[in-house]
């Protein structure tokens, strides 16, 4: 054939294109490694101990200050270390055999002194450990902390979690600004009722100082009971001024400039594929570290995760296909640990018919949470009986236990019938006997199989128990968030995970006008209780004020409809020992052995 055969032509087309797009492309897969692939993962067979972990896919950022996700927190938790850190307590998490509970211990700081000042402020003086170093060998100084905390507080840094240090003196003026005041000293408000900001205070006015290289002094506006936990939170990890200021947006994208002070150091980041970290030779506890390398595999597909785990390519996974969960649970391969968070529905308290607390209470009581956790979510979630979940520290023990139940969760059919009976009565009192005259309401959730199944169960329960008509509507994630934030809904799915182990993490969001107050809830008594909790120095009075707040929002106003308290599931290679976990969702692998 003298002319080009059409088949060859098609291949030419493809080849030609590839030539056009340049680098490292070939039409046939050859085992010969190309340039970018030459750097190999140190695999188990070269004598090094590597753990392959899958938490999620590509993290949005691994800048400790900018990170706001759990996966990013787990990774940065291995790479950096704050004044305090999470360590293995040696105690097992309830109900599992292969995961210990984490406890707070001194990290980069070796000790601290706490002084209550006369003006109500509190000063913490941290003494830094001797010989702490960055991954490039330079010493970690108190000045590094001063720089990092100021950076976190500055609005220009745009750190989602900047408010974690809102108890530090000067933070409010730096991040929120100094409000304009009139001649009488009153704050001037704009049309929306927000204070008019005159100017933003300079970051150097933040209450942090470094009198010498190994002393870091922080002044707090009040005696914050969870402050040490904040000192172990990723947003407060130190970062190095020279690399960050040289390239504020890009320092995390380059292994050379990604200097860290934690147990591990970043050695390789193949975007959308893996993040590899190796033991940091400059770490003070280098000898106690476990794995030589930890590889975070960045994956999206839960079938692939489970297949990878079963084949030994992964040592740890958090996600798997929903259909597989019951079998994995009964075989004992899947473990469940507590996770401080609440899955709930929020009612738009501004719009009829949910502007009536009786209607809200009726809807909350008519939820059969037991059915949902047993048949829909299926991973040991606990039916809720209040908004603050169990596991949150209270006065002496558990805040939930001390606060009691706002209703009895329906653990069996009999109890559920009782709850429904009460719900029907409430609805009748609200003017809708047997649901008569009740308008059709819409339950809004974000598009996802799980939320849909829960939505369908709720729809069924409310319709059957109350005789009302409920429609389901789903929206894509970002649109859903906007709709819910703006209060353009009647009932919406919601969920909240604690940032730190304190009830205030669940309660201060419902202050009037709060950024996360999706229920559009506003009650002056509630605001007063929260403000009291936030200003008192007496721990007992603080807890009492928070219980009072929860009594108002749940027991009196019924603004929220809690369904269940979250749990965290995982699968861990049975040869791996020494993993530990905090119920804030962070797993640690730095001391694992095999």
């Amino acid at each position: 054939m003298k002319k080009i055969v059409s088949l060859a032509l098609a291949s030419t087309m493809v080849l030609g294109l590839l030539a056009g797009c340049g680098e490292k492309t070939a039409t046939t897969p050859t085992p010969a490694p190309t340039e970018s692939q030459a750097v190999e993962t140190p695999a188990a067979n070269d004598g090094l101990f590597n753990l392959n972990i899958n938490i999620a896919s590509e993290p949005q950022t691994i800048d400790p200050a900018l990170n706001s996700a759990v996966d990013g927190a787990i990774m940065t938790g291995h790479l950096f270390e704050g004044l305090y850190r999470w360590a293995d307590s040696g105690e097992l998490v309830d109900g599992v055999q292969d995961c210990n509970l984490a406890e707070l211990v001194p990290g980069q700081a070796e000790s601290y002194e706490k002084v209550a000042n006369e003006d109500g402020t509190v000063t913490y003086t941290f003494k830094l450990r001797d010989g702490i170093k960055w991954s490039d060998g330079k010493p970690v100084t108190a000045g590094d902390f001063v720089y990092s905390w100021r950076r976190l507080a500055t609005p220009e840094t745009a750190a989602d979690y900047c408010y974690m240090i809102d108890m530090v003196k000067g933070y409010a003026e730096i991040n929120g600004g100094i409000p304009e005041t009139d001649a009488e000293g009153k704050v001037v408000l704009d049309e929306d009722g927000n204070p008019v900001i005159k100017e933003y205070a300079d970051p150097t006015t933040l209450g942090v100082e470094a009198p010498d290289d190994s002393t870091f002094v922080v002044t707090l506006t009040y005696d914050c009971p969870y402050f040490l936990e904040i000192c172990a939170f990723p947003a407060t990890f130190p970062v190095r001024e020279d690399v960050v200021s040289a390239d504020p947006d890009g320092w995390t994208h380059n292994v050379e400039t990604y200097l860290s002070n934690g147990a591990y150091t970043l050695t390789q980041w193949d975007h959308n594929s893996q993040i590899i970290m190796a033991k940091n030779e400059n770490y003070y506890d280098y000898d106690k570290l476990g794995p030589d390398t930890i590889t975070f595999k960045l994956m999206d597909d839960n079938n692939a995760m489970l297949t990878g785990f079963n084949s030994g390519e992964l040592d740890f996974i958090e996600d798997m296909p929903v259909d597989e969960i019951p079998a994995l649970l009964s075989s004992g391969d899947l473990r469940i640990v507590p996770y401080i968070g609440t899955y709930y529905v929020c009612y738009n308290v501004e719009k009829a018919p949910f502007n009536d607390p009786k209607v809200r209470q009726a809807f909350t009581l008519a939820i059969d949470a037991q059915y949902i956790v047993e048949n829909v979510t299926q991973t040991g979630q606990v039916p809720a009986s209040g908004f603050v979940p169990s596991g949150v520290a209270g006065k002496d023990g558990d805040f939930r236990a001390e606060g009691g139940d706002y209703w009895t969760p329906a653990t069996d059919d009999e109890q559920y019938a009782k709850n429904v009976e009460q719900a029907k009565q409430l609805l009748a009192e609200a003017g809708y006997p047997d649901g008569k005259g009740f308008p059709t309401v819409t339950y809004l959730y974000n598009t996802s199989d799980n939320h849909k199944k829960i939505g369908e169960a709720l729809q069924q329960q409310w319709q059957t128990a109350l005789g009302v008509e409920v429609k389901l509507e789903n929206q894509e994630w970002a649109a859903f968030l906007e709709t819910r934030k703006n209060g353009n809904y009647q009932i919406a799915r919601n969920g909240w995970i604690a940032d730190y182990n304190d009830p205030i993490s669940f309660l201060d969001m419902w202050l009037t006008g709060g950024g996360n107050n999706d229920a559009q809830y506003s009650n002056p008594e509630y605001d007063a209780a929260i403000n009291e909790a936030k200003s008192t120095a007496d721990p007992e009075a603080r807890m009492t004020a928070m219980h009072r707040a929860e009594d108002i929002i749940m027991g009196q106003d019924w603004a929220l409809g809690p369904i269940y308290f979250y749990t965290q599931k995982y699968m861990l290679n049975s040869d791996v020992k020494g993993m530990y976990y905090t119920p804030l969702g962070y797993f640690f692998f730095d001391r694992c052995t095999k």
């Binding site: 080849l15 929120g176 959308n272 906007e482």
Partner: protein, 317 residues
């Protein structure tokens, strides 16, 4: 090949200019559509304080009016600046994302489309030649199956059947291991292969019933030569038309296949950037794909002439 070089050059210049206008139009349309969808990149289950949202809006220029943002974006685009990701890969330059992610997607796409064309055309020819016989029926079943099965089903089935311990292929993609390429390429090429086979069969049947084929038969030419040389050249034109945009789509990465096999490719960005409202990434990937489709269509048009010299591309001039 004689393309009438002068006329041809003029034609190509005209097409390239048209392509540029098209890309600008696509960029503009995408920009305003994307701004019209509700939501913004900074929404999350936990909303950051207003000060942070203000700072973010200022940093990424989202505090300006939409027409102003549009002019700034188009200005940067003309200078070749695609901006930085706002959320998907915070502060990472979009051009770098494309540059780093595209090669892997292109490699897998190229292999996938190559086997799809070769096998598809071959099966199509066989099917047409043995029309109504057992081979034809069997192939039709396979092709119908292939066209009706979404790629996530094909990919997931391949993953579950063939990946993992004691099975031939690894679960997690590794660019330096040839085994990693087999299943993704198979999954990605399966649909185009079936489509091409069906298309080839249909147009082949049509071609085989033409007068010139009868003439060729009457002249006593070998059947194989008639099918492969005379009929296939005409039968290939519809396939070529299909291939143009299809190559662009396949090379830019199959979202689902890349997700299932953990391939660090460009595919996921097309989807994730929209969920994240990551405006610069939406623009960058859309413009990239659009340019690709336009270039492929141009190449296909030029190839028509190669396959069938009777086609006169520059006719309208």
């Amino acid at each position: 090949m004689n393309l009438g070089s002068d006329k041809m050059a003029k034609y190509i210049v005209k097409r390239v200019l048209m392509a540029l206008v098209t890309i600008l139009a696509i960029a503009s349309l995408t920009f305003f559509l994307m701004k019209a969808i509700p939501g913004n990149p900074f929404l999350s289950e936990k909303n950051p304080p207003q000060s942070v949202i203000n700072a973010l809006n200022e940093k990424y220029g989202l505090n300006k009016s939409v027409p102003e943002q549009y002019l700034i974006y188009m200005g940067n685009l003309l200078r070749g600046d695609l901006g930085e990701s706002i959320k998907t890969q915070k502060n990472y330059p979009v051009a770098r994302i494309i540059k780093e992610m595209f090669p892997t997607s292109a490699k897998i796409g190229a292999i996938a489309i190559s086997w799809a064309v070769i096998v598809g055309v071959l099966l199509g020819c066989i099917s047409a030649y043995y029309r109504g016989r057992a081979a034809d029926s069997a192939l039709r079943v396979v092709c119908t199956l292939g066209i009706s099965m979404p790629s996530f089903v094909v990919a997931t089935l391949l993953l579950l059947w063939l990946c993992g311990a004691g099975k031939p292929f690894p679960t997690i993609f590794d660019g330096s291991n040839w085994r990693s390429y087999v299943l993704p390429c198979m999954a990605l090429g399966f649909y185009p292969m079936c489509y091409i086979a069906r298309q080839t069969r249909t147009s082949m049947l049509d071609a085989l019933s033409q007068e010139y084929i009868k003439t060729a038969r009457a002249k006593g030419l070998l059947t194989r030569k008639i099918v492969l040389k005379h009929a296939l050249r005409n039968a290939f034109i519809p396939v070529l038309t299909y291939l143009g945009p299809q190559i662009a789509f396949v090379l830019c990465g199959g979202f689902v296949v890349e997700k299932v096999f953990t391939i660090p490719g460009l595919g996921k960005y097309f989807v994730q950037c929209i969920t994240n409202r990551d405006y610069p990434v939406i623009m960058g990937t859309t413009i990239f794909l659009a340019s690709f489709v336009i270039i492929m269509n141009l190449i296909v048009d030029l190839l028509y002439k190669v396959v069938d010299p009777r086609i006169n591309l520059a006719k309208e001039d």
